[in-house]
Amino acid sequence: MATDADRDVDGIDEDAVSWSDPLPAVLLVGAVLVAGAYATSVLDTAAAHLVAGRRLRLGELVLGPWREAALLAHMRRSTTERPDVQTWALAPALLAGMAAVAVATVPLAPGVAVADVADGIVLFGAAMALVMVGVYLHGWSSNSVFPLVGGYRFVALALSYEMPLALVLIAAALPAESLSVGAIVESQQGLWNVVRQPLGLPLFLVAGMGLASWGPLGMSDGTDLAGGTSAESSGGARLVWALARRFVLVAVAVTGAAVFLGGWHGPVLAGGLWMALKTLVLLAVLVGVGHRVARIRLERFVVVAWAVLIPLALIDVFVSGALVL
């Protein structure tokens, strides 16, 4: 049936350490996610201290996330009366897995492409659709009122931001003539997409913030729901859920950096370093907005998303399409 010549269809030559081999791939993606989550926590603490005008001690800033994680890991894992135990455990795993696959599709440096598939942004869209499933399951599983309300809020939010998120990536794929994230990065050789398609990055960041339920779009785990979907999770479950949400935020930042800020293109520094810098910049923007803008009312955001964001994303698609001709 299939031709038995072991030809590597996608043309990735077998260099010494091929990042698309399973083991190095897992280690690389794991490292990127954990480092990103750590950077998010550090940026979050720094932004909080800055906005609150509190003195920032370096030791506490650097070690803070590790200590909090150690505390949560040390605490006992309590439960509710009749939860759905399997889906409660599955939800953070699903979120972390989808964030991992999103990071895997992005070429992190010139030669380093873990899983640069030909339909990269479609894989990103599928992963982000499953993130909605993960957060809804996390809210549903604990059989408690406030997590349930948090879970349903997130479904409404997810159904609203999914369209602009995908359309903006399609707009970036037009000049690249391919859906692969690597090709999109290649197409930004001289001119970054953030310049060519000014509407792209802001819309992507708004949708990304909704995806990670962060800052003004932090609907699923809001303070008005006593922690929302994570109101009943404690100890290890709480730690893993916080990590998974930060992984999703890192996935959004990495994809944003690759698709809109030229990926690893950059004048002086090495490709990988540019990628890290751009990701950190986007993470700082996402975290900073989280501390400046109040949580939006969901009913208003749904109307704005459908009536304003989707038309804007379509305009972005057609304008960049016209420019490509």
């Binding site: 049936m1 299939a2 269809v9 499933v133 809804y136």
Partner: protein
């Protein structure tokens, strides 16, 4: 183990898991689990499609079905009693006929699948399926592409008209007002003759 054998084994596993997931859909008590077993079956089928070089279709199937199954779960939880399966949930009727019909359908199709010898023309691996689909959509089947658009528009309008509570012609429960006899009388919800018969009717008595 070279790539094609690995793909073959993977196809066995994914095919089997999609059938098991589909079987679990009607066996679980919890509605949310039923919806997500169906999603698992779709994801397995999507991965099989990816193995068959139809990469774009597999991924898009997963993208579509994730949203659809969550909405399905939300609707099931909204309408059905005992949504989380705390009590045993078995709301079935005409069970034996259903089983027989299922087995007959399976046997018939499986027989055709195995017995018929389909021509062996594998898709060549170096082709770009997504690009070909794009050319197809914009070239020969452009008409199908646009009619699909119109169908989706009709679906949107139809779904919202049926599901909505307050339509332009009066609320859903109060039944739509039949057109008045003399044409110049004001139509619409305020032109309500005596309680009429038929129509939605249900909520009036």
């Amino acid at each position: 183990m070279s790539r094609p054998e690995l793909a073959g084994v993977a196809m066995w596993i994914l095919g089997g898991s999609s059938v098991v997931a589909a079987w679990r859909v009607f066996r679980t008590d919890s509605m949310v689990r039923a919806a997500y077993w169906l999603l698992a079956s779709f994801v397995a089928v999507g991965m099989v499609m990816v193995l068959l070089q139809a990469r774009f279709l597999g991924l898009v199937l997963v993208l579509m079905m994730a949203g659809e199954m969550t909405i399905m779960a939300a609707f099931m939880v909204m309408f059905m009693m005992n949504p989380a399966g705390l009590n045993p949930m078995s709301m079935v009727h005409q069970h034996t006929t259903a089983k027989v019909a299922g087995v007959v359908a399976f046997a018939g199709l499986a027989f055709v699948g195995v017995a018929a010898d389909f021509p062996d023309r594998p898709v060549d691996a170096a082709s770009e399926p997504t690009a070909e689909l794009g050319e197809e959509l914009l070239g020969d089947s452009m008409l199908i592409f646009e009619t699909a658009g119109v169908t989706l528009l009709a679906t949107m309008i139809g779904a919202i008209a049926i599901a909505g509570k307050r339509g332009r012609f009066g609320n859903a429960q109060e039944g739509s007002a039949p057109p008045p006899v003399d044409p110049d009388a004001p139509a619409g919800p305020d032109a309500r003759p005596s309680p009429m018969h038929g129509g939605h009717g249900g909520m009036h008595h």
